[in-house]
Amino acid sequence: METTRIIEQYLDGTLGDEEKRVLEERAALDKDFRELIRLHKEVNLSIRDKDLSAFQTLIKKVSANHFHTPKLFSLKYCLRLTAILVIIAGAGVILKYSLFRCVGAEELYQQYYTFYDADVVSRSAQTVKDALDSALISYSSKDYAEALKILNIIIKRDQENFLAWFYRGLTCLETNATAEAIQSFNTIPISWNSPFKEHRDWYLALALLHHGETAEAAKAFNRINDAEGYYAGRANKILQKLKP
């Protein structure tokens, strides 16, 4: 705390002459110390300057309004309204489901979640393939930070690389970034025609369970059960245990 005091007093202009001389000598020689002073100075500026942050919030609002102005009585608007009503109606069911289930969602998640072994990837574009392979190697060796970094780059280049979104979901799930995992899995369209689709559905359902969205998870497990695929048996067991 002593360093903080000295720097703050220096920036306030209330530091004594001797201490000021010592500080300036140290700053001249020590790059890290210089950067710490800069950091204090900018942090003080950010505290003082409420306008910049408020301006950013306002821009986001204006931008959202500009790009998503709902037109009254348009089909899109009516669909949204219907969706909201369905969500509200479903909320009661969700609440009931979350409060009166037999086994804890997290307990079930821990019981059924297993690490997904990365598959061999085959894509036509060589650079994308290389990047995805690198991401999978990092993911398999549990270097999730690196995997996520590469996957983000791939996705940034190609928003429709759903395999990258799938592995991003898995990587986030491994690091307990569950909300991000759900968002990644949900980016993949239902119509995705890929052998990975059923894995995506399974891990999405588990992610919802892990995130405490039990009712949504139950719906997802129901779909898996109905599809009678590879995970149907496990989905059925989870559904039995989730029933009130």
């Binding site: 903080t4 210089r34 950091l39 900018e42 003080n44 942050s53 931008s63 790009f67």
Partner: protein, 197 residues
């Protein structure tokens, strides 16, 4: 494209005073040209929207500086800021070469645009970290930054002594600095002249 409703001076004043209607006008009048530029230079719609927000943030900082004078039309100025920031973004993405961006004559906008944009990013991040502090810490630090006297802060906060208030301030500041250091990627920080602090 120029705004048909407002003059450049009105648009700049509206920006500084955070007039929502004027901000909307920026989107109506200028966004499309920025979008076209981004789309024709390896970007997508989302990139264009993000870039335009950064451009407005830079313009906000410039416009509220009392020494700022607009020496060209606002549309030219905005377009120039957009180009500079987009080139910086392409450089960051590395997988795209600067050479792939089409070059044409444009106004030589101040070289500090990139520094302002990076500083904006840091200030916003610091502000968010500050907002995560306890309400008492936020209040003490804000009062200090607003220039309220230490005696008055001690009274307002109900602390037992001036020394206690000072210690509280330093403790809060240290907590804030440590949380920023833990979360912010300092490899990306550029302060311009290294010897300044």
């Amino acid at each position: 494209m120029r705004s048909v409703k407002f003059s450049d001076a009105e648009l700049l004043n509206g920006l500084v005073s955070r007039d929502e209607r004027i901000l909307g006008e920026y989107y109506v009048s200028y966004f499309q040209s920025v979008r076209r530029f981004v789309l024709s230079n390896n970007g997508n719609d989302e990139d264009a929207r993000d870039l335009f927000q950064d451009v407005l943030m830079v313009l906000f900082q410039k416009a509220r500086d009392e020494h700022f004078t607009l020496t060209c039309t606002l549309s030219t100025y905005l377009y120039s800021i957009s180009r500079i920031l987009w080139l910086k973004e392409l450089g960051k993405r590395k997988w795209i070469s600067y050479k792939s961006v089409e070059h044409e004559d444009f106004i030589d906008t101040d070289s500090d645009i990139v520094l302002i944009s990076e500083k904006n990013e840091r200030l916003i991040f610091y502000r968010k970290s500050f907002e995560k502090l306890s309400s008492k810490c936020r209040k003490v630090l804000t009062l200090f930054m607003d220039g309220v006297s230490i005696v008055e802060i001690t009274v307002r906060m109900g602390y037992k002594s001036v020394q206690h208030t000072k210690n509280r301030r330093y403790r809060c500041k240290l907590t804030l600095i440590n949380s920023i250091k833990a979360e912010y990627d300092y490899n990306t920080v550029s302060y311009g002249n290294n010897k300044d602090y």
